[in-house]
Structure formats: C-alpha cells, structure tokens
Amino acid sequence: MSKKILVVDDASVVRMTLKQLFESYHYTVIEAETGEEAVKKYQTFKPDLVTMDITMPDMDGITAVKEILKIDAKAKIIMCSALGQSNKVKAAVEAGAKTFIVKPLHPERVLTTVKKYLD
C-alpha cells in the first residue's frame, strides 16, 4: 500500500504542484487548505507524513503542528514555508516539526527530504 502524504497549504498552486510531484512517485496525497482542516484530515486519514505551510487563514501552521502532535506524538511533519527567518524555523522545530524547507520549493529537495523521513 502506498504511503500517504497530507499536503497543507492555502495556495492551490502549491498543493497541485506537490500533489503531482508526490503522485508521480506513487505516494497517495491528501490536501488541506488551512491548519484547522489539516488537523481534521490528520485524524481521519492518519497520513505517514505532513508538509505544512506556516501562514494560512484560520489556524497557522505552527499551531496546527502542535495540534497534530497532540493526536499523534510520532507524527512526521515537514514545514514548507516562505517565512525562512531563523526564529520561525526555531519555532517550528520547537513545536515538533522534523525539519524546515524554505520556499521557493525545489522538487528534488522536497523529494529527498520526504523520502528521508518516510523510508
């Protein structure tokens, strides 16, 4: 059975790009547009990995990371954000994210990182 990745980003173009990338490597992709939707979909689908934006409407990515980790302390979450300031990276990692990829997203880098945590 293919591994499931939950892609969380309010930008549909980012979700579409990551979905196409992951599906071409036979991962199953679930999408969420907000942090709140991400928490609900995590509970429902129990994905193997999550890619998470930071700035989103309703619930931001760092809060969503904390909420997901309350559901599953072993959740693997990779932050993918344009906010690459050192304090944001630190906040995300302190919240429990495994690592941080600063946008613009380069497909090879995203794939290498995802594979590192999935395999």
């Binding site: 930008a11 549909s12 173009v13 980012v14 579409m16 790009t17 409407p57 300031q85 946008k103 613009p104």
Partner: protein, 156 residues
Amino acid sequence: MDSQIVNQFVRATSSVFGQVNNVSLLKTDLTYFPDGCNFPAPVNICLGVTGGFKGQFSIVMAEAVALKTASVALAGKEVTVYDRLVESAVCELANVIAGEASKRLLEMGLDCDITVPSVDRGKDFSTSSACFVGKFECEWGDLQLVVKFDSRAQIK
C-alpha cells in the same frame, strides 16, 4: 531607515522573481511619494506586514506577467486565461518575496510577520499615504513594488 527597509523588499523582489521564474528583473526606478500615488494596477497582490515594521507591501503586475508566472508554476504548461490558479500562483510569488524580505529585515533587527495575500484585478492602485514605488521590467512585461508604512519602524 525607511529606505533601508524598502531596499530589502526591492532586493527580495529581484532575487525571488529571478529564482522562481528564471527571468531577469531589471529595476528601472524607485520613487518616494509623500502624498500617496495612483496608477493602473492590472493585477495587484497585497500583503500586510506586522511586527518590527508595520505596513503594506504590494506587487502590481501586467496580466501577461501573471499568466507567465502561473505557467512556470505549472511546470511550463501554457496559461492563457486568468483564473483562480493564476491568482494562487501570483499570491505564492508575492508570499515568497515577502518571506525573503522578512528574512532580510530580521537581519536588520526587525522581526516581522506577513499576512495572507489578497488580490485585486483590473483596478487602480490608489493610496493617500506615503509610499515607495519601485518599477521593474522583464521580458514578460512590467512589475511594480509598493511599500507603504503604517508607522515608523522601531529598531530594537
């Protein structure tokens, strides 16, 4: 101080646009308008900035630039119609530019957050507040950057 802040946005715009779209962006002008300004804005992406610098940051572009940006985001697929996906692509571009500018501002001691972008299409950009307008050109068309201050930035 204000010009140092604006320069971070100018540099972030040139650097990110080139990196994302693989097209050179040439800055042709940077002007301060103490009483605001008004100009046509085919596609206007606006983001709020909070924290050490409070204000607004807008990227105004020709529709052709928006379509080409979306095309690059969609791995080269030709895009001829302005739709929600194009809007999402230009918002994401502005978001990445703002992120890069925030990173540079933090290095100056200004810790900033960026709000979710909003887009206006086919309207004029109009403000009565003081602002900086940077003009850029690329092979796809024109692009303008507007940085508006809500208050004086505070250096920590």
